[in-house]
């Protein structure tokens, strides 16, 4: 699903160069649920940004779903983001001027689907996250957990192959966090590959594979994990 080879990402500011990722290689197989842990500043978000085509990298190769994405144009990258990737943010990132329905609609709009099929997809996604009744609410009228569920509905509505979540439970209490985790597991079991950054070891343990980052490098604990339900192949190995 996702293969990075010797990826390097350097942030340059006036005085400092930060090597956010260096010689970073990873392979994530289709259907995996990977949790990413590591201390603050270790490069987790950087990894997710690159994986989600939100940011460019300086060296190395990145193949997503069989496509070398390092050479895509801005337009092509937008298309890949729209069709193959669903993003879930720590801060939910709902658009406050839009109601729940229109928020979930956003990625579908950019796909140019007809109104009827969009409506059906949105209703299904909202049903999945259990918010069908609130489609007319505005984000400010929802609790944090509800907002994140809307964001999850928005991420999965286009049926992307890859879900990327950057500390999706970081702003939520543990009960809500667990609910969100349930949802992510549900999405994973229906076929999507999930990569989730978290600081919570308990949540991380629920993933099919855990990886650890330290100073922009991968530390694979190589723990044996049960393979995901529907994918009989062994979990991908970090190189």
């Amino acid at each position: 699903m996702l293969t990075m080879q010797d990826v390097r990402k350097v942030y340059r500011t006036e005085h400092v160069e930060t090597h956010a990722l260096s010689h970073f290689s990873i392979a994530v197989n289709e259907g995996e649920f990977v949790s990413v842990m590591g201390p603050s500043g270790s490069g987790k978000t950087t990894f997710l940004n690159i994986a989600g085509l939100l940011d460019a990298f300086d060296e190395g190769t990145y193949t997503l779903d069989g496509v070398d994405v390092s050479r895509l144009s801005d337009r092509e990258m937008s298309k890949v983001r729209n069709e193959k990737i669903g993003f879930i943010f720590q801060t939910f990132n709902l658009i406050p001027d839009l109601n729940v329905f229109d928020n979930v609609d956003v990625p579908l709009r950019y796909r140019g689907l007809g109104a009827a099929s969009r409506k059906q997809a949105i209703e299904e996604a909202l049903a999945t996250v259990g918010l069908s009744a609130r489609y007319k609410h505005y984000p400010s009228q929802l609790s944090g957990g509800q907002q994140q569920r809307v964001a999850i509905a928005r991420a999965l509505v286009g049926q992307p192959k890859l879900i990327l979540a950057d500390e999706p439970t970081g702003n939520l209490d543990s009960a809500m966090a667990s609910e969100i985790m349930d949802l992510l597991e549900k999405i994973n079991s229906s076929g999507a590959t999930v990569v989730m950054v978290t600081h919570d070891p308990e949540l991380a343990n629920r993933a099919s594979r855990q990886i650890h980052l330290l100073d922009g490098k991968l530390i694979d604990l190589a723990q044996e994990r049960p393979a995901p339900l529907y994918d009989p192949s062994p979990a991908g190995q970090a190189v």
């Binding site: 997710l48 085509l53 990132n93 709009r109 950019y110």
Partner: protein, 413 residues
């Protein structure tokens, strides 16, 4: 397109939306009414005054030589002037006149149908010498022009000639414009009819001029006019109106002053073209028009800048949302389009409100007097300009918004 969600989201930002809508609406209303006013005055300035303006020269002679105070001197000089000017090469005809047409200064007096008990209405008039009609170049549609018998005797009592009108029990043969004729005699039978002034002085209409403007062509009643036969000569100043042959204006214009000073030295001679006098009179109106024009331009510019500012602000405010949209698959074009459609809707509502305000303002100004009706082409062009201006104003910040990187979405704030 994202028409629906954008439309709904506008109502989540009511203050901003209404501010832009009102700004556009008010600007449209003021600009359209200014343009209508300008257009109307331009049309007034451009219309025919009935006279052969291009070939008319206004000459004023102010004597300073004490000889002019001697009895008969002014009159003799006046008669010689007329003869000499007439004989100049390139001159078609010449007449004397008390006040120049189109100049902004003139006289008016009360008149009513002779023998009636009507209220007297004000009629501007000119006192003019022989050859008045031919010199003015106006078209006589009924009756005749002045004949020598219409004029008072020049050698009788020159001091009082100009005030001839004030004499009692005197019948004068006069010319009037069609406008004035119709005003007193709407049935079209004015020729030969009489009108009267204050002291039982009665005028008989002997000729009707199709069109001629009085001294106030931008006044409410520019075509209201009568012409009295007179020799408007006195020892203080005398005025002549000279009509040149076509194409010989410049030649006559420069030759006039030397010629008159050759005839009689002891005076100051001023020579001006009638077009120049008209231009002077119109200048206050044209500068008013220019002011209105600049106000319109300025208003549109300020509104444009306002939209640039508001859109810029909302782009900055929504940087994170833009990043999120980019992360969810929006292309740069999608982002630009989003802001443009948003602006397009606001401008649209603004214009709708503006059209209502335009007619409201027009109605209000019209009831205060002086604003003509709205001409649809002016309204349409203004709408188009506002629309384009709105889109253009939104384009710059929208393009800036499209440069927001998708990675902004995951930045911790």
């Amino acid at each position: 397109m994202e028409f629906g969600p954008i439309f709904r989201s506008l109502f989540q930002n009511r203050a901003r939306t209404w501010l832009i809508v009102l700004e556009i609406g008010l600007t449209l209303a003021v600009v359209v009414n200014c343009l209508v006013l300008i257009r109307d005055q331009q049309a007034q300035i451009g219309r025919s005054t009935g006279m052969d303006e291009q070939n008319l020269i206004a000459v004023t002679s102010v004597p300073f030589d004490p000889a002019f105070q001697e009895e008969g001197y002014s009159v003799a000089s006046y008669e010689q002037d007329l003869r000499e000017i007439e004989a100049m090469p390139g001159v078609r005809s010449v007449t004397s006149i008390l006040q120049f047409p189109l100049s902004g200064s003139g006289s008016a007096t009360g008149r009513r149908i002779a023998g009636s008990e009507d209220q007297r209405t004000t009629v501007p008039y000119f006192l003019m010498g022989p050859d008045a009609i031919d010199t003015l170049g106006v078209e006589l549609v009924q009756g005749r022009t002045f004949e020598p018998g219409d004029f008072p005797d020049l050698h009788d009592d020159d001091e009082e000639q100009a005030e001839e009108e004030e004499d009692t029990d005197h019948v004068t043969n006069i010319l009037v414009t069609q406008y004035t004729a119709d005003k007193f005699f709407p049935d079209g039978d004015a020729l030969g009819k009489q009108i009267e002034g204050n002291n039982n002085n009665v005028d008989t209409i002997v000729g009707i001029v199709r069109l001629m403007h009085n001294s106030w062509p931008l006044g409410p009643d520019p075509e209201n006019l009568m012409i009295h036969p007179s020799h408007p000569v006195n020892n203080r100043q005398t005025r002549y109106l000279v009509r040149t042959e076509p194409g010989r204006f410049d030649e006559v214009f420069v030759a006039l002053e030397p010629k008159l000073r050759e005839v009689e030295e002891g005076r100051i001679v001023t020579v001006r073209s009638l077009s120049e006098m008209k231009g002077n009179y119109y200048s206050s109106f044209t500068s008013m028009n220019q002011l209105l024009g600049w106000i319109s331009v300025l208003l549109v510019a300020v509104t444009g800048l306002g939209i640039v500012g508001m859109t810029s602000f909302s782009v900055t405010q929504r940087t994170r949302h833009i990043g999120t949209r980019r992360a969810l698959g929006a292309t740069r074009g999608d982002i630009v389009r989003w802001f443009l459609v948003e602006n397009w809707i606001m401008t649209g509502i603004g214009i709708a409100v503006g059209v209502a305000l335009t007619f409201g303002l027009n109605y209000m100004l019209a009831s205060m007097g002086g604003v003509p009706q709205i001409q649809p082409p002016i309204l349409l062009v203004s709408i188009l300009v506002m629309w384009l201006m709105g889109l253009l104003a939104a384009l710059i910040p929208a393009l800036r918004g499209s440069l927001v990187q998708p990675v902004i979405a995951t930045r911790s704030v």
